[in-house]
Symmetry: C2
Subunit: 265 residues, 2 copies
DNA sequence: CAGTGGTCTAGACCACTTC
DNA sequence: AAGTGGTCTAGACCACTGC
């Protein structure tokens, strides 16, 4: 145990502590708060893949002893990570690394609902899975070069049998090199669930930019709409731990019977 | 318009606390946790306008003594309210009711940026401010009737001198009855700042539904675009404390040089 | 300097899950 | 029964603000 305990004053006992532990008593709070430091350490473990999606992490009291802080401090660090949806707590069981395998997070990134405000189940069809160069907007988002090769996936999502979303997905080869159409076609869960279980890449957050446009020729064809029907263009960059961009996708949504929803607050 | 001193509202609050205080010692954790109960009580005070936007609320230790709990429990309740942006903490000064008057919250509800990802300052022009019946989508959102009268505001927002957003805003008369074009035109801050300072209505959150559409004739005219240029249709319902809907607006955004942005995570 | 929020501790007990 | 997260307390001290 550490402890700049306030009550232990000038005793021989204290000397033995100071031999094994640096003297914090003179430099309090000049660094970041302890719980922030611990949060960073846990984040580092997640970034480096020490703990993988779905893993049980050490208990709060274990972490408290290893980091030499109180359980309350550990708790505060975990609180923020749980809040960022990087960890999940289960009372009685433990604290786990968040995963996209659960049903609840299936549509966490797809903000599409029907006129009734209901999020429907989708039927997905993979149209394409190749390795090739990418448009400028893509490789710039990854801070890579025009010559670099990416995985390119094209997909059609349908709701109630009607095609609604046509999208192009781009992934950096180093991470997703051996992905294939067969693998994608055989996978029944969410795409981010697949990325996680097969490539160890967990998406933590994303940024979307939305425009109203006329559909591309190809989108109009696959979506079965007239070239003059406005569609929602959704450009997404998705990130993993440490704000590393690991996916770019450009989708076009038909919004005659659906809408993009967003909560502000 | 504010300034009931918080001491007054606080003492009223105290009475209600003393009345509802019960013996916790025999029945632990069978009700909601203490900090949740306290959070609800504070929320109630906000809903009822006991504490108004910008007001200083009692200190954590004051609240702790009035609620007969520890400071840590008060802190946990406040933590969540701060997180919801209903309260703001200022170290050394105190805890305040959140307000839309601050510069930082000026564009909290407007998710519009230019191609560079920069949120620009807008120039606003009020085109209309009348009292009249509203479309079905509006009165249904308020759970009111077709015959009911609403305030109807029409506004044009420009960025760098170019009109980009055309919007119709609907407000329930009981709350905003004496709003006028003169008042709106003379106000230089954000619209939610005006609602707050002149009508005591603080927007806490909103929900938006977004479609890609062709512009209405009127929108096309005011925005100076061709009737065949797709625009983003943003339908918003904004809420105040207690999830009460207090504003509906339908806007059309030109997205050729701007985009709607959203963070998922 | 007094008062406020911010951090941290040590310890107690409750509620839940698992064996 | 053992172990885990969830709640709560009492008290200490730090960092900041305003008078």
């Amino acid at each position: 145990m550490k402890n700049f305990s306030y009550f232990l004053s000038h005793s021989v006992y204290m000397i033995s502590i100071m031999q094994t532990k640096q003297d914090n008593s003179s430099k309090k709070y000049i660094d970041l708060p302890l719980y922030v430091q611990i949060k960073h350490k846990i984040l580092l473990a997640l970034e480096q893949g020490l703990w993988k999606s779905g893993d049980l992490i050490p208990s709060e009291s274990d972490l408290a002893t290893t980091y030499e802080v109180s359980q309350g401090t550990i708790r505060k660090a975990l609180d923020e990570l749980v809040q960022q949806q990087l960890l999940i707590r289960r009372q009685g069981s433990g604290t786990f690394v968040a995963t996209h395998q659960e049903e609840q997070s299936k549509y966490r990134f797809l903000h599409l609902a029907n006129s009734a405000g209901v999020i429907e189940d989708s039927q997905n069809k993979i149209l394409l899975c190749t390795h090739q160069k990418a448009p400028k907007i893509v490789y710039v988002s990854f801070k890579m070069q025009a010559e670099d090769i990416f995985v390119h996936i094209r997909r059609l999502m349908s709701f109630n049998g009607k095609p609604i979303v046509f999208e192009d997905i781009w992934l950096p080869c180093p991470l997703f090199g051996d992905i294939s159409l067969e693998l994608l076609a055989s996978w029944s869960g969410s795409m981010y669930g697949l990325f996680e279980s097969h490539f160890g890449v967990h998406m933590t957050h994303a940024e979307e930019r939305i425009h109203a446009v006329l559909p591309s020729d190809m989108a109009a064809e696959y979506l079965g709409i007239d070239a003059l029907v406005p569609v929602l263009d959704v450009f997404r960059v998705a990130y993993t731990y440490g704000d590393r961009p690991v996916e770019v996708r450009q989708a076009q949504y038909i919004t005659t019977e659906h809408h993009y929803f967003n909560r502000i607050g």
